[in-house]
Symmetry: C2
Subunit: 333 residues, 2 copies
């Protein structure tokens, strides 16, 4: 298989046709007579030929590669999503380039020039705050892309996200359903759109229920969940239910509750948001509003590839997927 790299030229010679014909047959573009097809196929098998992807890329200005760009691969949210993305991409003949990059880099011409020079066909932008400068590059660079995990903004296109607002309401309503009377929200950083939407969902739900809003601002990290929860307990407001803006903070909170011997869910019921696997690994298992990560990933690549392959038929769109309430020990009583 790997002795002499065989080229299209040798296939052509061996099957007695021109390389153009072989190329046509391989790409199934325009007709080739059944007989020649047979001949070519035979030689193809015999030589175990694989077209050179790079050469093809140069000629077609296309690499059959897409990139997944994110500032933090270690986010527990991603592995599964990346897996589903890679799966779909592979099935459609694309490879996945992984780019872990901070915002600053997205601000550099070189970054985008490099993508283009590799003929990267499209990319997925996950969890990136898009400064207007970056937006400029984005529009200049002229490579299709889809945004993931961002609030669906009226002005944005090609975004796949979830219904954060509704999810937050579901969380609050669930806590009420199990009897909570004073429900606090530990929010994410105010600068993050998804965090804002979840906060708004919380506020809306609380208002509908005629409850007092109780809000503490966290930053989505485990540590912050731990610390803010401490502060919350110290504030002494008879809170009996907490909606954490993400799972990681809820997990961090568990430590504080354990240390202070607050029984969960008996005294305080809690629920997170995201649906990362971790929520099932801790004790008690944490209720959550689960995002359909796999679906998000699949949706995003599919849209991206469609954008790449039939730009004209593909309409820009904002997909907003639904979240799901998962009730576990932390809010079961």
């Amino acid at each position: 298989m790997t002795k002499k790299k065989v080229t299209i030229r040798e296939i052509a010679k061996a099957s007695g046709v021109s390389i153009a014909t072989v190329s046509r047959y391989l790409n199934k573009v325009s007709y080739t007579s059944p007989e020649t097809e047979k001949k070519i196929q035979k030689v193809l098998d015999e030589f175990n030929y694989t077209p050179n992807a790079i050469a093809r890329g140069l000629a077609k200005q296309k690499s059959n590669t897409i990139a997944f760009i994110t500032p933090d691969i270690t986010n527990p949210f991603f592995p599964e999503m990346i897996k589903s993305i890679e799966h779909v991409a592979k099935k459609k003949g694309y490879s996945l380039l992984l780019i872990n990059t901070k915002e600053e880099e997205l601000n550099q011409k070189d970054f985008w020039n490099n993508l283009r020079s590799r003929y990267v066909d499209g990319f997925l932008l996950a969890q990136s705050e898009l400064t207007s400068e970056i937006q400029d590059y984005l529009s200049q660079v002229n490579i299709p892309f889809v945004k993931i995990d961002r609030a669906v903004h009226a002005k944005e296109n090609n975004t796949v996200s979830v219904n954060n607002f509704e999810g937050a309401k579901m969380a609050v309503n669930h806590l009420v359903d199990i009897g909570c009377k004073a429900i606090a929200h530990i929010s994410g950083p105010k600068t993050v759109l998804t965090a804002k939407e979840r906060l708004n969902g919380y506020l809306s739900a609380v208002e509908d229920l005629n409850l007092e809003p109780i809000i503490f601002e966290g930053d989505f990290s485990l540590e912050s969940g731990k610390n803010i929860t401490e502060a919350m307990l110290a504030s002494n407001q008879n809170i009996d239910g907490v909606f954490y803006a993400n799972d990681l903070m809820a997990i961090g909170a568990l430590k504080t509750f354990a240390k202070q011997q607050v029984p969960i869910p008996q005294e305080i019921a809690i629920i997170g948001f995201d649906g990362i696997q971790l929520t099932e690994m801790v004790n008690p298992e944490i209720s959550t509003i689960k995002q359909p990560v796999v679906e998000i990933g699949e949706n995003a690549v599919t849209q991206l590839i469609s954008l790449i392959e039939k730009p004209d038929e593909t309409i820009n769109r904002n997909v907003e997927l639904n979240v799901e309430l998962i009730v576990r020990e932390s809010s079961r009583r």
Copy 2:
């Protein structure tokens, strides 16, 4: 930047030299007179030129891309490692292709042909069982690679791994140090080399200490940690210390202990292996034998790139890094 893709030809024309000279200057191969360099550089800046990576790839038979191949991206062990790998790779001018693939696929000619046709310069093989069939492909395909997270085998080359045997001993000795008298081991699947080494380390330590070995076989999964621990408790052997072959199983065990109200570490002290972040997120935090993931990743890429760029100067080697005992609540008393 993205208006008209500018090529080396235009740079050449604009600076009044041949494209060969521009190419030489860009690649810093052979001398070019200072004056021409000045001229070229000026034009380069002016045009904001980036060489086309694909064209360059075709000419040099090299893509400046390496692949990370693993059967399971969602392994909590990987994100951090991948991050460090991507970081080093990027610094050296390489992009990272992520390939999540089951063993069966590695058995297919097409898989390797595809890698070659893309001129992937090298790859990292993580956590893959290498059947002899795959080994055959590996040697045929003639692309440099480095194995990660495998037991360092006398017969293998270019592997980076950790000292599983010593790590296991450290774990057992630590449990003894804090007063444990009956120490069990929940092993990994016997087919996995690292699991075997850890088991051997356990056996060796126990023997040195004149203790009775108590072994249960798990499969590295959270579930198995939970279930095997149940079985272990049921077996009623007055066990007061457990060394789990990996962290995930120890985390699963925590659930069983909680359900059965076994206080950790008071009644039973436990310790895991790997050092995944999760161990700090649960309650109690779990002691572990930490593998230097970042170092592993860095070591592996560095070796790989060296293999790619100076195959003659690079000696094959098996790197065995040291693990570290991390004492946390689960074994602190």
